[in-house]
Amino acid sequence: MSTTASEAEKQGEVAGIRARRRARVAWAFLSPALIVTAFVALYPLCDTLYLSLTNTRLASEEPPRFVGLSNYVELVHDGFFLDALLLTVLFAVITVMLELALGLGIALLLDARFKGRSAVRAAMLVPWAIPTAVSTQMWKWMYNDVYGVFNDVLVNRLGLVSEPIAFTADPRTSLAAAVLVDVWKTTPFVALLLLAGLQLIPRELYEAARVDGATRLQAFTQITLPLLRPALLVALVFRTLDALRVFDVFYVMFGSRPDMQTLATYAHEILVSISDVGYGSAVSTAIFLVIAVFIVIYVVLFRRREA
């Protein structure tokens, strides 16, 4: 009896040693990634937070001082910042709604089997693969107030408007112009994501629903939407976070136009062009906070509905 017990103990000990050795090997394999991550992400993140509490300026004679929350107090009174905040949130809400709706439509369309489906799926990657900076230039050319193809169609071919529209210069159309570029670029991603979700839904469910006499609309609301929920949530979260940090489209389309700054272009302007690292870091941190607020809203919203 006692011998088997001590043997079991010994075996347990051996297993423990083996587990510890395996853990050490695992950490060794992980270490390069951890070091790089700490160096380019975790440390800079903490450093940005710290810098936002100082008056650090690049190439300044004075040593930086700790100034507490005064950068954040300044933010709340900074009209440019508040405008950028409003524009960014507006942009995020509009684009995410459009992208989800359009993406769902495209996913449903491509869920059907038809000739040439894989060619269409390939075409979906074209907007996604083009660098945003480049596609924004392509759209700017189409938006051009004199020679652009949009004005050509609207004025010369259809006669819908009498005067060409300066889409990217007119404050009334500027936001819409940026929204269209973003929707064009990222809807394929949403559609592919939702399509992957759709293809996980067993076809038998639809068969059964049809046998039970359900209409197409009923099948959609009772089967498709509930089962697509996880994919829809992932798309919603991904797109929201991406839209809140939008930079390329606005920077390329509007440059430093004061009424068309997003949080990210404003932070970049202050950090790089003005070299006010302290205040710019406060703007960066504010973007982080805005994103956190959205995540909290989503968590609260979707937890409740689940209960």
Binding site: T48, M138, Y251
Partner: protein
């Protein structure tokens, strides 16, 4: 009944056709525009098809040293960051996919949250870091900082790949006396090759498309990447007042074509990688 079915097919066909037109029109229009003479580009009403197709804009772009520098820089930066993140990422994915240890889920959690990380949130600190390391206006600054967005994604997808390898393969290797490192290089790496192709492509494309860091950490024309160079096109070529749209479109086509071709050739892999990265989250 038959007529209704045909009508339905017709509507479906129209929907698919308009989708394809919507997806490819902006690129197609840039392509067509790049072959037009200036006279055709700047005429109203616009001409849809170039009557006298010309390579003049391409000749200008390819004779532009700044543009050639930018293309070379983008190739260098995108391939170096892809190689580094594949190497480091595969090691990490091996640990996360094949070992159970304390802190594993914490590491995975950090990796996942980093894939959603806003680059702008670290811009200030990275700007200082780059300056402190003496890397400002040098390409390694981009290789280093681009790891912020390529590495987490690479680890995440490769971990999924390595988790799926049956445990019997691993046991057989250990029975044969293989060390963990041999197991990794001789067995796991080859098995993860398809995943490496996918993540490699995605990180190459992400690095090629990046603008914010390129704009912030480089300055002189010989250090710019293509996304940065395409912005300064209007300022450096021809007159300062008129945007050389023909050259701009030719340059746009040139820097986009490799990516579009990559995406089309590897579409299955890319779609799988894109959705795997997201569906799991």
């Amino acid at each position: 009944m038959k007529a209704r079915a045909m009508a339905r097919r017709g509507i479906f066909g129209m929907a698919v056709l308009s989708l394809v037109v919507y997806l490819v029109f902006p690129f197609g229009w840039a392509l067509v525009s790049s072959f037009k003479t200036n006279a055709e580009l700047f005429s109203t009403p616009a001409r849809f098809w170039p009557e006298h197709p010309t390579l003049e804009h391409y000749r200008h772009v390819l004779a532009n040293d700044d543009f050639l520098h930018a293309a070379l820089n983008s190739v260098l930066v995108a391939s170096s960051v892809t190689l580094v993140s594949l190497a480091i990422g595969a090691l990490a994915a091996f640990a996360l996919g094949r070992y159970q240890f304390r802190g594993r889920s914490l590491v995975l959690y950090v990796v996942l949250s980093m894939t959603l990380f806003p680059q702008i949130a670290v811009l200030g600190a990275l700007f200082q870091l780059v300056n402190a390391l003496g890397l400002y206006n040098r390409l390694p600054a981009l290789t280093l900082t681009y790891l912020v967005f390529t590495l987490p994604f690479t680890i995440w997808v490769l971990t999924g790949f390595l988790e799926a390898v049956p445990v019997e393969i691993e046991e057989a290797a250990y029975m044969d006396g293989a060390s963990p490192l041999q197991l990794f290089t001789k067995i796991m790496l080859p098995l993860a090759a398809p995943g490496m192709v996918t993540t490699g492509l995605l990180s190459f494309i992400a690095a090629w498309n990046e603008l914010l860091f390129a704009l912030s950490f480089t300055q002189t024309p010989d250090k710019r990447t293509v996304t940065y160079a395409i912005l300064s096109f209007s300022a450096t070529t021809s007159s300062a007042f008129e945007v050389p749209w023909g050259q701009m479109m030719a340059a746009s086509v040139l820097v986009t074509m490799p990516l579009v071709l990559l995406a089309l050739v590897f579409q299955r892999r890319i779609i799988a990688g894109l959705t795997a990265g997201a569906v799991k989250g």
